[in-house]
């Protein structure tokens, strides 16, 4: 009984080795091919800034806005991100649900040590991404604008 059980276990072991060998033959080339495919898919990124900002592009943040925010907002200043209140308001600006959800978080990561505050009243700088600037025009010096209506400004001290 013991010997036959040991033989049965050995057969099971050989079946497992066979399965692993098949997996090896099929999956090793596939994995290398997939990794190379991923690399080819991003081979258009030509520099450090491309690699940095492409994630934001994927989240729907305009490249120009990202570059401008990095250049305009001083490194230790705080800022607020103003976006449309609803998806319906955002749609004309080409802002979708993903960008609404992740855009501010990505900007927080990108712009650190600049600090993102939730209350625009506490911010020294504001990033207007598809927002209505009417309430801010009288107290903000706009430092950058694009033709989509996005803008970055410094709030004047009252």
């Amino acid at each position: 009984m013991t010997a036959s059980m040991a033989r049965l276990r050995a057969v099971v072991g050989l079946v497992c080795v066979g399965c692993a060998a098949v997996l090896f033959v099929l999956e090793v080339p596939r994995a290398i091919h997939d990794l190379n495919g991923q690399r080819r898919a991003v081979s258009y990124l030509t520099g450090a800034q491309d690699r940095l900002l492409t994630t934001g592009d994927i989240e729907g943040l305009p490249r120009q806005l990202q570059v401008a925010a990095l250049g305009v907002i001083p490194s230790r200043a705080n800022y607020a991100v103003l976006m449309p209140a609803t998806l319906a308001d955002a749609a004309p600006y080409g802002i979708n649900a993903i960008t609404m959800g992740t855009g501010p978080a990505f900007l927080r990561y990108l712009l650190l040590p600049r600090w993102q505050v939730a209350d625009p009243g506490q911010a020294r700088y504001i990033i207007c991404f598809g927002c209505d600037t009417t309430a801010w025009d009288h107290r903000t010096t706009w430092l950058w604008r694009d033709d989509r209506g996005d803008s970055i400004g410094r709030v004047r001290a009252t």
Binding site: V15, E27, Q38, T55
Partner: protein, 461 residues
Amino acid sequence: MITGILELNGLFLVGGIALLAGLRGWSTWLEFIEDIGVAFMLGASSICVLATLALVAGAGLSTATILVLILFDVAAGFALFVWRDRRLPRRFGTLPRRSLGTAAAVIAAVATIAILVAMLRLARVAPMGGGDSFEFWVPKAKVIYFFGTIDTSKFTSLTSPRYPLLVPALQAMDFRFMGSAYGPELGMQYWFLFCGFSLAAATLLCRIVPAWLAWGFVALAGTIPELDARMINAQADWALDVFYGLAAITAVVWLRRREPWLLASYAMFTAATIATKQEGLLMISCFVVGLLAATAPRWRAVWPQFVAASLVGYAANLPWRIWWGLRDLPVTLPTMGIDSLLHHLGRLWPSLWLVLRLTFAYEHWLAFVPLAIFAALAAVTARGQSREAAVTYLVATVALIAGFTYVLWDDITYALNTHQSATPIPRAVGSIVILATVFAPILIDSLLRGHPEADAAPDRA
């Protein structure tokens, strides 16, 4: 920037070599070379855990602090080296004999290297991926890098403030050595972690199974689709799984070889696992339960040392738990009481089914779990070490599945679907898969050996 990451990881290796020289020593230079992966992972995990303690103590992670942490490793290793009267190796050692098994091992090792090279080429050019990477992991690292402390609302106001500190600490150390908080380059750090895991896992497994089996499954680990898709993301899931995999391997090898350095390594990898993500504590607990269940017949010989090592790994993370407890940081995962759990009983079966579907999804995780379960169900009919390995694996796996099911059942904000943005479970089941990947060669070897009288446990209670 990449130079900085190379320097930091080189220092991890130096610290790990010193630790391992003190803990283990080597009789030949070949043994030393074989242990490079283990040394690197020991150095990385010990220094990262020390870095979390430094942050909790109020220190930032300046270059000077990081060097002090590394010197601590070196000093500890040197002190052990002198105390244990170890010597440097005097001979090179003997290369493996030429055989079919050696040829198979070489083929598998070459496949592993090919996968690592492809991963490296991707890591060098890829943008930073993974939502959680920019939502909170890398921002936490940036706060540490720019502001030199975690005791600031800038850190505690970020998402998941109670999450363990290892990943932000590691990323902050990368930034320090890079001289810049350039997120996309962090992919290189994760590549180093996976390289270290591959080498360490192969070396450790080779101590108890034939090299062709060890290297075969290490190569296969590199083909897991979810690993290829996310390994270099600046998140914590795969870092967690590599530390967990090494904790499991060192524990099982210790059970067979009873060399003290293996138990010390297990404690270190356990500390790193718990310091990486909240699930780390669940994962280690499940493994501990599995190993204790398997070794119950000889508990006196195993339990005291193993439990003590597990507690050391847990204790290294207590200062962080005390730190956020004192600051009353918000809980990330709401926990329902027993009444609410019973009220939401209808979530129980869908939660379990989702965990099982994800674990056995070939397109994401290949066939490691069914293979390991098949081998374990056969090995459990044997005696001694074969049955111990099988019971450890089966109990730990069932416990993990139950644990993740409970997480889904308990948190009604988690959608019961497979979208990674809606729930962390599609990524979390990677721990079940990595456990299967490291146990499969051990279980298969025990089936192939087929000599029950040679399979006795070394000592009984």
